[in-house]
Amino acid sequence: MDLLLHIANLFLLISFSVKSMLWLRALNILAGGFFIAWAVSYSPPIWSSVAWNILFGLVNMWRIYVAILERRPPRLSAEEQRLHKAVFSELTARDVRSLFDLGQWENGLPPEMLCEVGTISPRVWMVADGEITVRKADRMIRTIKPGDFVGEASFLARKPLAASVVIESPVRFLSWSTQDLERFMSERPEVASGLQRILSACLVRKLDQVNQAA
């Protein structure tokens, strides 16, 4: 019956030499099976060894299940996939899924005032299709095109908007409440840095536009 013990240890040895965590756990479960068979075949059976190996096996099975779930790509609609590639390429599909789930898709029809000058923006908007207009005292400052954000400056600097955000033509956009976005970024620092990079790239584009206009 020592053969079972040797086979179990052999699988354990192989598991220690593999790089993949998934295979390491799978081989550990297999080794545990042989340890259990060896312990049961003993007379009298070594029940404490059986119990411990069942527990190890259950923990490994749970971790394998979670790892497989994490490997599955999240579902993204065609529109979301397009935005992932065009705007959020720095983030993984899973992170983009969580970010989109946090936001709210809307179809805006003119005329609609999204946020007035002098107020702290309650949301950050990202244009998916169409455009949003930024106006200051009846003067159009800029149009926000697909893939660009508006309200992010107010969100990042915690300051009131220097102009109004207006819908003047049909537009489809995704928006996030600034509170939700702040919580999301503080809870997930690894996503926060990617999102920060995207927002700062958008600001740099706007800054270039301002400098060119000047």
Binding site: L156, A192, L203
Partner: protein, 194 residues
């Protein structure tokens, strides 16, 4: 007057001289003059904790540069250690300038901590091991190992927008907080951006 967040950078700190690899001296005042500047103080050029810190921050240097932030690193070893440090940390071509202050005057005026405990106390030793496991390599002591690190983000008006005083070898400034402060400075300087 001590350095602290949202206060003007003290005159005595502005007068401190730092030296580049060619031996040319510049004052902190010259480096921070009319431009948002990130002053990143390191423990010493061979420090494993600083190698870890640079590796974490380096992916954000271009972003900070685009936001108009001048990035200045200040060590405390001989100027001859600067070029090897730049090469070792893969900072060639990055928008970073490296200086040193062997006298530790700039570090003192910046209010940074000094002592053996930060690097060789239980927390420091644990952080050394953690940095090693993460793939960083300790070098020779190229400066004063008792000097602790820190970071200051100073805006164009000379106001300290972010101040971080490292308490130990692995206590780095959070890069998300740092970029957040830089974004905030950029937005306040450009109120037309919305």
């Amino acid at each position: 007057m001590a350095v602290q967040s949202l206060s003007t950078i003290p005159e005595r700190f502005l007068e401190c001289q730092v030296i580049d690899s060619a031996g040319e001296a510049k004052s902190i005042g010259e480096l921070t003059h009319q431009r948002t500047t990130l002053l990143l103080f390191m423990r010493h050029f061979g420090c494993i904790g600083c190698a870890e810190h640079v590796a974490k921050l380096a992916p954000r240097f271009i972003e900070l540069d685009q936001l108009g932030v001048r990035i200045v690193m200040i060590g405390c070893g001989s100027p001859r250690f600067i070029e090897p440090f730049i090469e070792r940390q893969r900072l060639v071509g990055e928008p970073v300038e490296v200086f040193t202050d062997e006298s530790l005057n700039a570090q003192r005026q910046a209010g940074l901590m000094y002592g053996r405990w930060g690097g060789f106390g239980p927390r420091g030793l644990f952080e050394q091991a953690r940095a090693f496991v993460r793939g960083h390599v300790p070098g020779d002591v190229e400066g004063d190992a008792k000097q602790q690190a820190g970071a200051l983000l100073v805006d164009a008006q000379g106001i300290v927008r972010l101040y971080h005083q490292s308490r130990s070898l692995g206590d780095h400034v959070d890069h998300v907080r740092l970029v957040d402060a830089a974004l905030s400075v950029c937005l306040n300087a450009n109120p037309e951006l919305i």
